[in-house]
Symmetry: C2
Subunit: 118 residues, 2 copies
Amino acid sequence: MTDTATTRPRTLAHPGLQEIRLEAVLHALSDPVRLSIVRDLAAAPDELACSYFVLPVTKSTTTHHFRVLREAGVIRQTYVGTAKMNALRRQELQTLFPHLLDSVLAAAAAEEERRAGP
Amino acid sequence: MTDTATTRPRTLAHPGLQEIRLEAVLHALSDPVRLSIVRDLAAAPDELACSYFVLPVTKSTTTHHFRVLREAGVIRQTYVGTAKMNALRRQELQTLFPHLLDSVLAAAAAEEERRAGP
């Protein structure tokens, strides 16, 4: 008897490219915690485990934020063993909405610099 | 005796340039009704009265949406007589977050075209 729980990798639901909605992407990016996750992913050379992120919220809230990002089509989450790995869907978002993610990332950097003061 | 109610124009509170927050701007743009208002304002050569907009929501919800846009710093609302006029704070947003509004407007146009199908 085959144990499908161990032989079949767990997968998570992601919207297809044509299912990604601008409003959902903007909503996903409109939360400071989620935006900080996206900025970290954009700066990382590779995908990052959820455990990489040290966020000022509870574990269940963190899980919620990652789910919002995934369901909006902003990130792709895959299981590698027991670790949930996260990657930005950068190229796909660029295809759908050219320059949108880059301008949000640049705006976040500009705002951070502005808040830090001269 | 002077009637200040008629001699002093009513004014509405707006965030100053340095008070505008990226998260609030993205949140304001993440609602389809508010995004449609912003697109109409972007396409208009001049400011538009609230009464110009025919939206699929109640009057009080419409008022709410305009307030969210104003409080986020996306639009400027001024009274002209009894009409509330609306203008995008386009130049100010461009100063704070270069290309952000333009990329959102382009993304909204791309999505509309995509939904309309080939």
